[in-house]
């Protein structure tokens, strides 16, 4: 008779009840004394200490959840890349030190500005034992050219043809000089897959029931949807200097910070990259494992997604950027891992233009602290009808991103802008980045991403040039300068052009706001060691360095 006995209502309240119990339980386990701890690892490191022992199986958590596919042509996010970087390799290879070296191609030449010739290794085999041929490589590269949905398609804009020109040689012909293209062979634009397997799999390539056929140190083994992806070591791996020591890696998909932290501390998960900020203090202090920080071209930024509305006004964009406490965000939201960036391209992606861009960055007065009065003064000249338009920001519903969103809304409120923060489920957030219909009239989008290679042209091609994946507002202000830089052979001249581009972007504060550059971090329990601490896990077979500590 009474409502209190209704099972429906009890079910309805169960989630919160569980939350409240968890709060009480976790609160009982924590105290304010925990915060005064020292970080293991000290400064930034590229590699954690080598793990030399053989291990049967480890569980590694993929912090952004289960991917939809591990197809390297259609996956460009932390989750799939962290997994398939151990399975599929590129013509060239980026090292954890952010250097580019030969990979599946042992050498390359540039006989004229319109030709790149790649000499392939002859000792590489796919997991099924078949040798990697020039046909496989030509087919793999051509997919980026012909498949408009391929993530790297935009990097092939100047490619006229890809052809086998020898038993172990492939030649790429360009329609115009492109001095970004070759280095991109160290990104997923240079990935090599088995032609026969790919043709047979078709659109199911990389899907849970189909998997992949590549040449990396780990082979796709099993995908239990909703639970894990298993990769087993490939005994026929060509690179004898990088022999995997862990027989099987199960990648799990926990996304909740508390669950990840508890799993790590309890030994149910052996390791993770991107250690949950909320668990940093406990994990650093724990004797169950070790924590390391490394360099990484990871940038948290705001993308101007709507060319109309208040964000169309340069002074509004600049004022908002001035009002945001990026320094505080780097310290508080990212647990001290974030350093404010002065330019739109993060410093670790300055690459060949390092000297020029460092000089330009030094000339930018902003240090990332909020300058409310200056921002208000800048807004004084903005027409009232522009200021009256609401600015919307969408962030995914995660602890850090919500905190970031709240900070940005507060900055906008302080300078009198009308601002709306929309927090959307984390699992559907990528739709805002890639689907214009979902994005609608959203003015600003949170992003945290990395360049494919340590080269400012790669960053700009993605973020600021017409057609770039993250150029949501269709900004075209640097197209001409960018094209000029891309076609310039002389590195010094190219660097000067890149510096001009960055200055223009900074002057216009478009199409994104410089945010904070983040250090990478990794935590492993005492069973294992060896993972690169630098941000290499999205393009380098990092898991091949893992090994047992005993």
């Amino acid at each position: 008779m009474h409502i209190s006995t209704s099972p429906g209502l009890r079910r309805g309240s169960a989630a919160l009840a569980a939350g409240l119990i968890a709060v009480a339980a976790l609160a009982g386990c924590s105290s304010k004394a925990v915060q005064s701890t020292t970080a293991a690892g000290g400064g930034l490191t590229t590699f954690s200490p080598a793990g030399n022992g053989d291990v049967d199986k480890i569980i590694w958590n993929v912090f952004e959840g289960e991917p939809q596919t591990v197809d390297p042509y259609h996956a460009a996010d932390y989750t799939p890349n962290m997994i398939n970087s151990n399975m599929c390799e590129n013509l060239l290879q980026q090292t954890p030190e952010f250097k580019i070296q030969p990979g599946l191609a042992k050498a390359f030449t540039n006989p004229d500005p319109l030709t790149w010739v790649y000499d392939l290794r002859d000792d590489v085999t796919f997991w099924d034992g078949k040798p990697m041929t020039a046909d496989d490589v030509a087919y793999s590269l051509s997919l980026n050219l012909t498949d408009k949905t391929s993530f790297s398609n935009y990097l092939y804009v100047n490619v006229a043809s890809v052809a086998k020109t020898g038993e172990h040689q492939v030649t790429v012909k360009l329609s115009k000089p492109d001095y970004l293209f070759n280095e991109e062979m160290a990104s997923s634009a240079g990935v090599v897959v088995e032609k026969a397997f790919h043709e047979k799999a078709g659109k199911k390539f990389g899907a849970p029931d189909t998997g992949l056929m590549c040449t990396g140190p780990y082979q796709f083994s099993k995908w239990t949807q909703g639970q894990s992806i298993s990769a087993t070591k490939y005994d026929g791996y060509w690179n004898k200097d990088l022999k995997p020591k862990v027989k099987q890696i199960d990648f799990t998909f926990l996304t909740d910070d508390n669950a990840i932290t508890s799993g790590l501390l309890a030994g149910q998960i052996d390791g993770t990259y991107n250690v949950p900020t909320s668990g940093l203090t406990q994990l650093k202090a724990s004797s169950a494992g070790k924590y390391y920080e490394g360099p990484g071209p990871l940038e948290t930024t705001l993308v101007v997604a709507n060319p109309k509305g208040a964000m169309a006004n340069a002074d509004v964009r600049k004022a908002l950027q001035m009002a945001i406490d990026w320094k505080g965000i780097g310290t508080q939201v990212y647990g001290g891992l974030g350093v404010p960036s002065k330019l739109q391209t993060p410093p670790s992606a300055f690459g060949f233009a390092k000297d020029e861009l460092n000089k330009l960055a030094d000339s930018v007065p902003a240090d990332g602290t909020a300058q409310i009065d200056k921002a208000k003064a800048l807004l004084a000249n903005v027409p009232a009808d522009v200021k009256a338009q609401e600015i919307s920001l969408v962030v995914p519903a995660q602890a850090e991103t919500q905190q970031l969103g709240v900070s940005i809304k507060d900055a906008a409120d302080k300078i009198g802008l009308k601002f709306k923060l929309n927090v959307v489920p984390a699992t559907g957030y990528s739709n805002y980045l890639y689907d214009p219909a979902t994005r609608g009239n959203t003015d600003l989008l949170y992003t945290q991403f990395w360049p494919g290679i340590p080269n400012p042209l790669d960053w700009l091609a993605t973020t600021a040039v017409t057609g770039g994946t993250f150029n949501q507002s269709g900004y075209s202000g640097i197209d001409t300068l960018f094209a000029q830089a891309r076609a310039t052979q002389d590195t010094t001249e190219r660097a000067k052009l890149v510096s001009q581009v960055e200055k223009k972007l900074n002057d216009e504060m478009n199409p994104m706001f410089p945010g904070v550059e983040l250090h990478n971090n990794v935590w492993m329990n005492n069973r294992i060691s060896g993972a690169p601490a630098s941000f290499a896990y999205v393009y380098y077979p990092w898991a091949a360095h893992l090994g047992g500590t005993k």
């Binding site: 409502i3 309240s13 939350g19 909320s278 602890a399 507060d410 900055a411």
Partner: protein
Amino acid sequence: MTALAAEGRMVARTARRMRRTGALGLSGWTAVGALVLIVLIAAVGPLLNSVDPNAVSLSEAYQNPSAAHLLGTDANGRDLFARLVDGSRTALTGPFLVVLVSTILGTSLALAAVWFGGWFDQVSVRVMDAVFAFPGLLLAILATALFGSGLTAAVAALSIAYIPYIGRIVRSAALRERNLPYVAALRVQGVHGVLISLKHILPNISGLIVANATLAFGFALMDLAGLSFIGLGVQAPTPDWGAMVGTGMSGILQGFPDEALFASALIVITVAAVNVLGDRLTERSEALS
């Protein structure tokens, strides 16, 4: 042992007497006191508190309680006391709306079903059974998926989900009333059915309605807080107890459980008080009938 048994018997006797007389008793009045205090905080607290609950100061994150911040600050350096006080408004307004809407609609539907009977009654009962079978929280999650996160969609969905809980109880009570001699007498006098339902049956079962609406308030508060906890209810930066439990979770692992604990405590106290009051009101209603 003997003394304890005697004491137990005395407590049981007192409880039985209270149930017979319909008195609220100490627990009931304690619940009333707690609820009055919480409602007063929600009504006038934000007016008396000069601190902006949304003012961010990252350099003041996770401050301990002080004169400037009575309960300390959260991860964004916002004043916890101000947010808890301001959050009481959203925490209480949502459930109030759910209960108001579902009680009005559920009662109206039940009274109409009882009065008209026949196919209308059968259809009403089947519809309420169908809605009853669908978990309210799931309906609310679907609504937020369709119409976007926020309090409006969640309140609308829960209002619909709660109609059967009120409607079924009101229907059974009204059926009993309808068969009593006073209703037959009124019909013989030619009083219109609507008037009989509203002026005679409804007042006689109002105690039961209020009691169950009170209980429903507690459950609605838990449901809405749960939705905010998972990010589908009240949206940041608006303060809300459920949302504060959610955002405060990250602070717990860092050694700062205050936000989640304080918000949780307020939810528990409010729901417990509402449930105790609801139980006492139900007993009172049964005693009086």
